[in-house]
Symmetry: D2
């Protein structure tokens, strides 16, 4: 499998007041919301939803995928404040058989303010338990569009 | 049915940092979390849970109750800050056939800082839709223990 | 002062996953975030910010205004779910000397899903205390653009 | 400086409903709130506060410390649900000159459900900018009480 030279998915998001804290800056946990929301926007861009609205109704019959996180991290480089406009660049750093590693580059006014990473596992409900399952071929192809250039997505 | 002379359910909760905002005080929406968490603690005090952990698994067979809110309100009397210890007093202001009206008196250092109200409707999933249903007799009896003295719970 | 026949400020907002709860729908407290965020977007539309980023630095010299809430309420008409696109219509229901009452009409797919109201008081820090102060004339004029037609903003 | 054989600070926290999401489990970002709240409880245990309530008033005269995060991470081992009682064990993994690395072991019913880490830097406001500064001696001594046994706190 050849290395994809994808470019990141770019999403913009304004900092809301409820995401700040008494120190006057955005609460560190809010960055994980920004990263997740950018991932969900990426899924919409691919014409699908990371969590279909009929999830609980169909899950015993035609189990939809869900993507529980197994690991996440964030490095904070500069504080951001209310109404700052953030640019979140999501890349697929690694596309495993069942897991996906997203890398998030968060910028504000052309400065990098945070760098994050989320690892999620493609899963499905089987007899009431979450079980990892291979990422479907068509989804792998879609997601590889955003593969980071320097990484081997087949690793 | 005689009027119950119940006393409020009292619950204590410390303000957490993530509940503050850049103005240096608790975000106004956080008070609804305090009210709801006190209500859930009240249900635990009654030996039950407002949302059993097997909710989505059993809901087609033995539909559990759920309590969607139809109305809520809060009046803010004084700001509260990080690490303030709040006392939330929950009273059942009205116990209708299907609905319950909670009244919340929120205090900090013996001063009233907020006064809230939440109306929830006893509901169940029927064919994928939420439908209001009568509050079961045993639950009415339990909840009436916290009826506000000056109100007629049979109204 | 003549009655303004303003039209509401309209703002769109997609429901994010972190705003839902285990019942599968948007948590009731999230509607207050939508209302507040629409209000802040309205201030940006007026060319200002409800909370300038230098707030804590300048507040002793040139005290900026802040708008603590004194009351808020919400009536819930229908549940909303992840990725629903909401339309929030903000009207100025009443413009008092020091206070403003916003009315929020929240819609999803042309149905009204919630109806809210927030009352905020124009305030400033004086010797470390929040004190209500008259809404400046230029701001009154700007805000009256969104006055609800059937209300008298001079009341 | 000898290696401290501290034991972790243990804190208990019940999962609240607003911390769950439509997948029926606790949202991954909520674990960072649990970690931070345990850290703040640790500071209270030491007789101090991580964010004194007069922070913004005194900061130009007698600048208090603040602890912005420079990095955090979490590994998720098992889902947790509404009303689960969590045990958060906080250890000081590393105590640098200006920075502190906390390690968080999060358990539920005697099973480890998550493992986290937060790195914060002792900072102060100097001319409106956040600047790192050495952790005061008395605080170093207090914090070393919770040093992880296998780590050298002087590193």
């Amino acid at each position: 499998m050849s290395v994809s030279n994808g470019s990141p998915f770019v999403w913009h998001r304004r900092v809301e007041f409820c995401e700040t804290d008494a120190a006057g800056i955005v609460h560190f946990s809010s960055f994980f919301l920004y990263m997740e929301q950018a991932e969900h926007a990426l899924f919409r861009e691919l014409g699908t939803s990371i969590f279909p609205s009929d999830f609980h109704h169909v899950r015993e019959l035609d189990p939809p995928f869900t993507w529980p996180r197994v690991r996440c991290e964030c490095e904070y480089l500069a504080p951001v404040r209310f109404e700052d406009m953030l640019e979140i660049r999501v890349s697929v750093e690694r596309l495993g058989t069942k897991s996906i590693t997203y890398s998030h580059d968060i910028r504000c006014s052309d400065h990098r303010v945070a760098q994050g990473r989320i690892i999620a596992v493609c899963s499905s409900h089987v007899h009431g338990k979450l079980v990892g399952c291979p990422i479907p071929a068509h989804m792998r192809e879609s997601l590889s569009r955003y593969s980071a250039p320097s990484k081997d997505p087949s690793a």
